[in-house]
């Protein structure tokens, strides 16, 4: 016979467990191994250093890196792209060799303020020209993503969940959350519009929320106590989101597009104090096989204007130093333009990081257009070095367990 009390568990559910109150339930749970019992309950009160948010912007379709960060001093660039090239006079010079596409003029202010970092030639060791596979590589952080069920940010959210006890990652946009957010312990949700963050009631929702809150603040025993504090936190968040959304038009207008609306929703969520550490948004349409000049210009303008509005409005909320924006695409495009006025799938490309914490500037220099890798810009910075930098320096997590292998964080943060 095994004596339970002797096994050291009496305090939890043997002796003295007549009425488990919330405190003793939590105390008992502290010994538990499953993640959901760990961490704080109730409102998410960010600890110093754990209050930073990463906004990932995925440019879906393969963004043309050469026409985003333009090597305008390189004649080989102009020769390879007689129709698509951005002339030297049009590119917005960053360091005398590389310049922004003119549609990215909105990012110029961030550059001048020392809040924009460009890392060039970022990619994958053995690039794959398929959208699907290349995206899976970037999402999982594995060069062989076959059978990989979790994403790099999903794994990060697993760790954050245990460390900080918060639902920490969401995708704002239509459809399924991206593989990058797939986690082992939680479903990181997709939110398209803020209706999913609202309460519905047959009576005045504010009155209903107030009455429910009184119920949640009552003394509920055991597990019901945990549910009560989570429910109270959820309803409080819903009220704050409503209040935040009701504030009216943002100071700086967003583009009147899905991407603009999603950024606005992110702003509203952050303004309401939603317990977020990782937010994922997408801008689709970068697969410019034909008629690239118009399309690419419009997309980059949408990107720059959206991010600029988001940063300005977030700044008003006091988020200036708590935001890092990371912009990437699954691959760049071929150096040589095609016959349809477009470009085909390529390899390495620049990534952008925006925020007050970045080491501003161009890192990595212009692409080497002399020594191409099968017609593509070759990779000089493994994409996981960027991930490692973000995980370690921004999210405060150990990168190696998340990325599976050790990568030297790229010194950009």
């Amino acid at each position: 016979m095994i004596d339970v009390a002797r096994a050291g568990l009496g305090a939890a559910w043997g002796e003295g467990s007549v009425a488990l109150d919330r405190r003793s339930f939590l105390a008992a749970s502290a010994a538990a191994s499953s993640a959901w019992l760990l961490g704080a309950t109730g409102h998410w009160r960010p600890r110093p250093g754990a209050d930073r948010v990463l906004l990932v912007v995925q440019l879906t379709g393969g963004n043309d890196g050469l026409n985003t960060i333009v090597p305008f001093e390189d004649d080989r660039y102009h020769r390879a792209r007689p129709r698509l090239r951005i002339p030297k006079g049009s590119a917005l010079s960053l360091d005398g060799r590389l310049g922004l596409h003119p549609s990215l003029a909105g990012l110029r202010a961030a550059w001048d303020a020392g809040e924009l970092a460009v890392v060039t030639n970022v990619g994958v060791a053995r690039p794959d020209r398929s959208h699907f596979r290349s995206m899976a590589i970037w999402h999982t952080g594995r060069t062989n993503p076959d059978g990989e069920l979790y994403g790099w940010l999903g794994r990060a959210s697993d760790v954050l969940g245990v460390k900080e006890g918060v639902a920490s990652a969401i995708h704002v946009g239509r459809g399924e959350p991206p593989l990058a957010l797939a986690a082992r312990s939680v479903v990181n949700p997709s939110i398209d519009g803020l209706d999913r963050m609202r309460m519905r009631s047959p009576v005045d929702p504010r009155e209903h929320l107030r009455r429910l809150r009184e119920i949640y603040l009552d003394d509920h025993a055991g597990t019901a106590g945990v549910v009560a504090s989570e429910a109270e936190a959820a309803l409080a968040l819903a009220s704050r989101i409503d209040a935040s959304a009701a504030k009216g038009a943002p100071r700086v207008a967003y583009p009147a597009t899905a991407f603009g609306r999603q950024l606005r929703d992110v702003e509203t969520l952050l303004g309401a104090g939603a317990p977020l550490r990782i937010v994922y948004v997408e801008l689709d349409g970068f697969d410019t096989h034909a008629a690239q000049p118009e399309i690419h210009a419009a997309l980059l303008r949408e990107l720059a204007d959206g991010l600029t509005a988001f940063r300005a409005n977030a700044d008003d909320l006091g988020w200036r130093d708590r935001l890092l924006l990371f912009v990437f695409s699954e691959f760049g495009r071929r150096v040589r333009e095609n016959a349809s006025g477009g470009t085909d799938h390529g390899a390495a490309a620049p990534v952008l990081l925006l925020g007050t914490a970045v080491k501003a500037g161009v890192h990595g220099g212009p692409p080497d257009l002399e020594n191409l890798d099968d017609g593509d810009v070759s990779m000089r910075v493994d994409f996981r070095r960027i991930y490692a930098a973000i995980l370690e320096s921004w999210l405060g997590l150990e990168a190696t367990p998340i990325l599976g292998e050790q990568y030297e964080p790229f010194p950009v943060l």
Partner: protein, 451 residues
């Protein structure tokens, strides 16, 4: 009135006593709350009639009646419907099929155990991409889930859904894929710590040779590694069946199952002595899950303080429980959408680990989805009014609030909250909107989300 849970006994001091039958008598009450507890755990909660039946039977007979029930023949209509729409391939219909079964069945334990096994052998439609194969897998749980775990495991591992999900359908003796072997050890049977990396490699060889084609699973001898393998120190030319039998025979497998079953049906974080004791009960019954849970559902542990409303309801338990209790009719589509929003899309668990459960169900977006579902479930003002009238009449009261708290929560609500609801109802004087809001609120009390 003090909550009924105050009068529930403590957990017996020894693990063996914990699984002895709970005999109602002095200090061991047998009341409505106990019947509700059993019906919620072994099923999805009961109607007033079902509660009365359980009350009359007593713990032992009620446990047997639930765990040994015959399949409900009325569900064949739904099964036939499913077979006709499988060609359409829409996973939402598949989800609706199971949800409607759970709502309508008179044999809820079968569904509840199948739900447990679905989370245990988590397989996702988004990768398998065949509604037919996913349905076939859940059919296995429904048909033989109560029986010996080893037989269920062998059939699931050889099923097309699992072979595709864990990449075994393309595993060849020259390049065996380790995915299925690893999860078979880590998640399905023995758990971490009971096997080595070498065991995984050897097991992967035993799992080669299976091909999945349009009309089913085919064994291709030329792709199978026909050599001797050494797993857990045992040498032999193992195939799938032998490998699964080896795993299931390990003491660690019974321990893993005992722990997971206790977490799902009894209490969170069961202490090791209890897990050991329940593992022994499982082994003595050849890992027959139905029989072992039958013991649990009649045990002193089950009717102790530590189990009382100790688990967080999963979205499925919450939705099915609400629909059954209020007898509302919602479309299959609405039910599917509600569960998706709450984070439990049937046939699409987030990963091979299944749903995390517990507090992970309660993140803000998911809680608000629960609140919106409670709104939908109480949308029909006439039905809400009739429901409250029935509850009021049963207690001979003018207002139905108290009666609804009793019916939906076994009266298990702190006094202040209860008074608050009552005074709201009195102040409003019976407008349809406030009636709806009050029932919606009862569905959103913390206690209603605890099983």
């Amino acid at each position: 009135m003090a909550p009924a849970s105050m009068s529930w006994p403590r957990v017996p001091r020894s693990a063996r006593e914990a699984f002895e039958p709970y005999v109602p008598g002095a200090g061991c009450p047998w009341e409505l709350g106990h019947a509700g507890h059993l019906l919620r755990r072994a099923g999805f909660g009961g109607t007033r009639e079902e509660l009365d039946t359980v009350l009359a039977l007593g713990p032992e007979a009620a446990s047997r009646a639930l765990t040994e029930a015959e399949p409900d023949a009325r569900l064949e209509e739904l099964d036939d419907a499913l077979s006709l729409v499988l060609d359409g391939g829409d996973p939402r219909r598949l989800r609706a099929w199971w949800i409607l079964r759970m709502i309508r069945t008179r044999d809820p334990f079968r569904e509840k155990l199948a739900l447990f096994l679905h989370g245990h052998f988590a397989t996702a439609h988004r990768k398998v991409r065949s509604a037919r194969w996913m349905a076939e897998q859940v059919r296995t749980y429904l048909d033989q889930g109560k029986g010996p775990f080893g037989a269920t495991a062998a059939r699931v591992v050889k099923g097309p859904a699992m072979l595709v999900y864990l990449d075994a359908a393309s595993s060849h003796r020259r390049r065996p894929n380790e995915n299925l072997a690893r999860e078979l050890f880590e998640l399905f049977t023995v758990g971490r710590g009971d096997y080595s990396e070498a065991d995984v490699k050897e097991a992967a060889r035993a799992l080669t040779g299976w091909r999945v084609e349009a009309d089913g699973v085919r064994f291709e001898p030329s792709a199978f590694d026909d050599g001797a393998k050494v797993v857990f120190g045992v040498k032999g030319n193992f195939g799938v069946d032998e490998l699964v039998a080896l795993c299931v025979g390990r003491p660690a497998c019974a321990l893993l199952l005992a722990r997971k079953l206790l977490c799902a049906f009894a209490l969170p974080d069961p202490p090791p002595p209890l897990v050991d004791a329940f593992a022994r009960i499982l082994r003595e019954r050849g890992l027959a899950l139905g029989e072992a849970l039958g013991v649990l559902f009649a045990s002193r542990l089950f009717y102790s303080q530590a189990c009382r409303r100790a688990l967080v309801k999963s979205p499925v338990e919450y939705v099915i429980g609400t629909v059954r209790a209020l007898e509302v009719s919602l479309t299959g589509e609405a039910l599917v959408a509600a569960l998706d929003e709450m984070g439990q899309s049937l046939f699409d668990p987030p990963s091979v680990k299944g749903w995390e459960g517990g507090r992970a169900w309660l993140q803000a977006a998911a809680w608000l989805a629960r609140a919106r579902f409670a709104f939908e479930a109480t949308r029909d003002a006439d039905r809400v009014r009739r429901y409250l009238e029935v509850q009021a009449k049963r207690r001979g009261e003018a207002d139905g609030t108290e009666g609804a708290v009793e019916a939906l929560l076994d009266g298990d609500l702190p006094d202040r909250s209860r008074a608050h609801l009552r005074s709201w109802a009195e102040a409003a004087g019976g407008g349809a909107e406030v009636e709806r809001a009050i029932v919606q609120s009862i569905l959103l009390t913390p206690e209603f989300h605890c099983n």
